[in-house]
């Protein structure tokens, strides 16, 4: 195995008196798609807040390409939980946001992004405002805004959490195809078991808050996934296994309800 790009070593974090992350250790290899799967409110977004330096912690260490995160020069392109498109910017100008922040002139940034619109299923919508697009298209625009930043690694926080089931399934299939072509190094946060199994090379399962890694699962299903019956059966078995782990009563939390909500926030 090559040297990992991202390593988290025994990370801990608390909001005041509220412990949110405990002893989290993870690693992501180059070109690997890793998912973090856990119940709502367990601390997944908090983990991304640490990675994007919105918050910092003294407990544990985060390294990117062997360097401490603070010296790694913002290696992540981040896609927040809601699409966070700016309603006042046309789609084309939303997708160039990261490049503009980096100091690129708007016209140059537009030229750079425009050829990608077809691939992202957004051709012809460059001059529309976000409110004029469907949910799926908005998510694709947000993802385009993320990948054009050309950062070493993507952080996707529940990118499809707000979509209806059918649109979501379509988007998962589309994202898998995109990933197969581009081989981004990516970390996906989700509470959708199917999504995690469908997209990931590896999954970290988190416990309810305070989040600990309760299991690490390698998904060695052939890609593209979910197209043939044999893979579907194996995927379903993995999904059932994961659900079993996540729903089983936690010995650390005896007395709490054995079933936990996986509903969207």
């Amino acid at each position: 195995m090559s040297a990992p790009r991202l390593t988290l070593d025994q990370i801990g974090y608390r909001y005041g008196d509220l412990p949110v992350l405990e002893n989290i250790s993870m690693a992501v290899q180059p070109g690997e798609f890793v998912s973090i799967l856990g119940p709502s409110g367990s601390g997944k977004s908090t983990l991304f807040r640490l990675l994007t330096c919105a918050i910092t912690t003294d407990i544990g260490a985060i390294a990117f390409d062997g360097k401490p995160l603070a010296e790694a020069g913002r290696p992540f392109a981040f896609m927040p939980q809601r699409d966070a498109l700016m309603p006042w910017r046309k789609i084309i100008d939303n997708t160039t946001l990261g490049l503009e922040v980096q100091g690129m002139r708007r016209a140059v940034a537009r030229e750079r992004v425009a050829p990608l619109f077809a691939e992202f299923g957004l051709a012809g919508f460059e001059q529309n405002y976000p409110a004029e697009l469907s949910g799926g298209m908005r998510q694709r625009a947000a993802l385009l805004r993320t990948v054009v930043q050309d950062k070493p690694m993507l952080l996707l926080d529940e990118p499809f959490g707000a979509l209806d089931a059918l649109t979501r399934a379509g988007m998962q299939r589309w994202l898998e195809g995109m990933w197969a072509q581009h081989r981004w190094t990516a970390m996906l946060v989700t509470h959708d078991v199917r999504e995690a199994v469908h997209l990931s090379d590896r999954i970290y399962l988190l416990s309810p808050r305070p989040a600990k890694v309760i299991r690490e699962i390698e998904i060695d299903l052939p890609r593209p996934r979910g197209r043939d019956a044999a893979t579907q059966v194996r995927a379903a078995a993995i999904e059932a296994d994961i659900l079993e782990t996540l729903l089983k009563p936690d010995p650390d939390h005896s007395g709490s309800s054995p079933t936990r909500s996986f509903a969207a926030e």
Partner: protein
């Protein structure tokens, strides 16, 4: 942007729905005016106490030159005062957004300034600053500055936290965050404040003139009242109402021009 047939059709439908929307208000105002007219004619009340609306209109037409001569200084005071107030509120809102501690120090003082009764303040300001343009500008600024400052500050704070986190993750410094996210986020709040403040601004200017001026709708109303001409007072009120409505409409128009994304919201096809 193509102006297709479907688009013009949609605008026609919108206009009809606007008219339908306004109909009850128009009917209500219309019947009130009719009742007033009938009362003035048949109750035997003297026109120097309650003139009929028709008389007010006739006198407004008769004295149109005087009314116009007095409306222009009022408009000038309103616009100058409001423009200065806007600039000051905008600059201070930025400073306060970057130095929150300043905000906590300043806002209580500004709230107190809003509790001062206009009736008491207007004569004092005229006493201190004379009959010229300056006291009017000051009074207009006094009634509009704080509402605009609050609207802008609230608008900055309404920025989506996800958006701020996104920009921070891109490495945007604080001023870029302000320019790219906080300022545009404040636009709806700014324009809501603008629409209200512009009507206060006219009231402020008229109050200042009422307390002492060479020309203006305020002093015109005062003189008409002292000459037992309630019809001319009401004619001046009519002019000031028309003035206010025009300014309000200008604010709405500015809002539409500044925020084009709020107009096209239906999930339509691509725009070529």
């Amino acid at each position: 942007m193509s102006f297709s047939q479907s688009q013009s059709g949609r605008i026609a439908v919108q206009m009809i729905s606007h008219i339908r929307h306004a109909l009850p208000a128009v009917l209500a105002v219309g019947s009130l005016v009719l009742i007033w007219e009938a009362y003035a004619h048949f109750s035997g009340v003297s026109p120097t106490t309650l003139p009929a609306p028709s008389r007010v209109l006739a006198q407004a037409y008769e004295y149109r030159q005087a009314l116009l001569d007095n409306a222009i200084p009022t408009l000038r005071a309103t616009l100058t005062g409001f423009a200065l107030s806007l600039i000051a509120a905008f600059l201070l809102s930025i400073i306060v957004d970057f130095v929150p501690r300043l905000k906590r120090a300043l806002f209580p003082v500004l709230i107190i300034s809003q509790t001062l009764p206009l009736v008491a303040i207007a004569p004092l300001i005229v006493l201190w600053f004379g009959f010229g343009l300056l006291p009017k500008i000051l009074l207009v600024a006094l009634v509009t500055f704080f509402p605009m400052l609050v609207a802008l500050s609230k608008g900055y704070e309404a920025t989506e936290p996800e958006l701020e986190q996104l920009l921070a993750s891109m490495g945007a410094p604080r001023w870029k965050l302000f320019w790219l996210a906080r300022l545009p986020s404040s636009l709806p709040f700014f324009f809501a404040g603008l629409r209200i403040s512009i009507t206060y601004a006219v009231v402020g200017a008229i109050f200042a003139e009422y307390a002492g001026a060479a020309k203006g709708l305020g002093i015109y109303m005062l003189n008409a009242k002292n000459n037992f001409r309630p019809d001319l007072v009401l004619a001046a009120v009519l002019v000031s109402a028309a003035l206010t409505l025009c300014l309000f409409a200008a604010a709405v128009l500015a809002e539409r021009l500044a925020m084009p994304w709020t107009r096209r919201t239906s999930t339509g096809g691509p725009i070529r």
